[in-house]
Point group: C2
Chain length 307, copies 2
């Protein structure tokens, strides 16, 4: 289908991260190199620190004949504004075990640590030289989803691809600086405020931090800058489940769960209609902060009791 089509529209998932945007951007450029028209789009704005990936790729003046969802596990993850695409996705390229197989055709490889690893294979299959911005975008996807080769999903394949991308000239240090090593002063301020909300539950087996709208407003931080906060909780000795509880509305919280093996974060989030990976998942819970925390801790307790 990639070889035969002419006009491709690529969809990234809502709250876009380095893998959905890196993968979509790389595929977009791979298609360009194959002589096709291609553009990418996303229901949510592109985070500032990821804009380097998508510059020049988000405008299009052609009628798409093939729509591709990239790193999108379910139609909901396209975002409310893009729900109209849900039944019209021709291809979904993804690595999430939880993929709902909603597309007409799905290329699902759950052994890939990042969708970007699949895009790497696609570039090779299409005989497109992996260099420049393509290599940069694939590298960004891989480091985003492997936590820079730190998460348990990292495989020898991830490292081999990284080695090839570095040989192809990727400035890995520069990308890592953009993705992991740069925090605005506003972000540092927000982090200090958020650290003050640290709470432990269940004999220290669970911990939470709360990111209120007030903290975001007072610090001036960009929400996407706080994406790595949930990981920090899982680092604390004895903590099996870490929850970042992010206020999204007066009476609604977006929960990011990070767990240590063998706790399945996606199983706990599924209780609230969410999903994700074993080590990292998310859900939305309605109610005030006290209610959200109590409901979450209750489900974590139930899960641990059933182990």
């Amino acid at each position: 289908m990639l070889r035969d089509g002419d006009n491709f529209l690529l969809l990234a998932h809502r709250s876009p991260d380095g893998d959905t945007l890196g993968s979509a951007a790389a595929l977009c450029r791979i298609l360009h190199k194959s002589g096709k028209h291609a553009a990418l789009t996303c229901a949510d704005p592109i985070p500032k620190m990821l804009e380097f990936l998508t510059v020049g790729l988000d405008k299009f003046d052609f009628e798409p004949d093939i729509i591709i969802a990239v790193d999108v596990a379910s139609p909901q993850l396209l975002g409310a504004a893009f729900e109209h695409y849900a039944d019209n996705v021709d291809i979904c390229i993804d690595h999430h075990k939880s993929n709902k197989l909603f597309a007409k055709n799905t290329y699902l490889d759950i052994t890939a640590a990042a969708t970007a690893e699949i895009i790497y294979d696609i570039a090779i299959a299409l005989n497109v030289d992996i260099c420049g911005k393509i290599a940069e975008a694939i590298y960004t996807g891989v480091v985003t989803d492997t936590g820079c080769f730190r998460f348990p999903n990292t495989s020898d394949r991830s490292h081999r691809i990284a080695a090839e991308l570095m040989v192809a000239g990727v400035d890995a240090a520069d990308i890592n600086d953009r993705i992991f090593n740069t925090k605005s002063r506003a972000c540092i301020e927000a982090e200090l405020m958020i650290m003050d909300t640290l709470e432990f539950y269940l004999d220290g087996k669970a911990a939470s931090i709360t990111i209120s709208l007030d903290t975001v407003e007072r610090s001036g931080v960009e929400m996407s800058e706080l994406d790595s906060m949930p990981n920090f909780l899982r680092q604390i000795e004895g903590v099996l489940v870490g929850a970042s509880i992010k206020q999204s509305d007066d009476n609604q919280y977006r929960v990011s769960l990070r767990t240590r093996s063998p706790i399945d974060a996606s199983a706990i989030c599924a209780k609230f209609g969410g999903g994700g990976h074993a080590g990292a998942a998310g859900c939305v819970i309605d109610g005030d902060e006290t209610h959200v925390k109590a409901a979450l801790v209750k489900e974590i307790e139930n899960y641990l009791a059933a182990l």
Copy 2:
């Protein structure tokens, strides 16, 4: 010399980290597999989180005929208790540009991101199968010195070695958990106290945190647990030089400098008799906290002015 000798004593550097201990432990086991006697030792205690590397390797009842310093750039870095070895080091295996060539024979490869990458080459040269604890120790060295493949010294060689080690069965996620992902509750407490000492200088181009003996005592943190604190400063937008100022005595501070390219941390530390790499270096400054900070900021200012 490795093929011809029989009894090897390996010396790690003082304040031992994952590269000096991982490299020494791997080499120790490589020599054992080659039918030699070998043990390792260090002037300072082995940090708890690195003990898994050296278990069973630090006792010896043979008379060493070859002494090898591993990842040791100068005799001083052997530590005061080991100064008597300084003139008797037969081989130094190292990757620091600042190596003083103090040993009788030096295997210096400054293109290696970690000394452990050199040890990998040695294992291959000696035809020793890289598996089990050897692979684990080499992986630990590589991830320590590359900041888990995040620092600019990371090369395609680092990734290729990591891929081979994972194929050889290394549980990379487990080692990363030990090295990067576990913080004691005491450490979290200490970090919160240390974050309160954050100061900016020179229009935000430099920043410091101070780790007082009092903070260490009150939190109960193990000093080595705070090793990654200096890196955090360099992450702040606009900060070119980050200094972690660690009190080592009433009137003495150990400074860890982390810089962004093109600032050479080792050049600034050299002004105080210290050294290291371009992006990470250290020195010791005598005096009270106010004096130490003023002296340091002055040298940073001079360095920046001369750029």
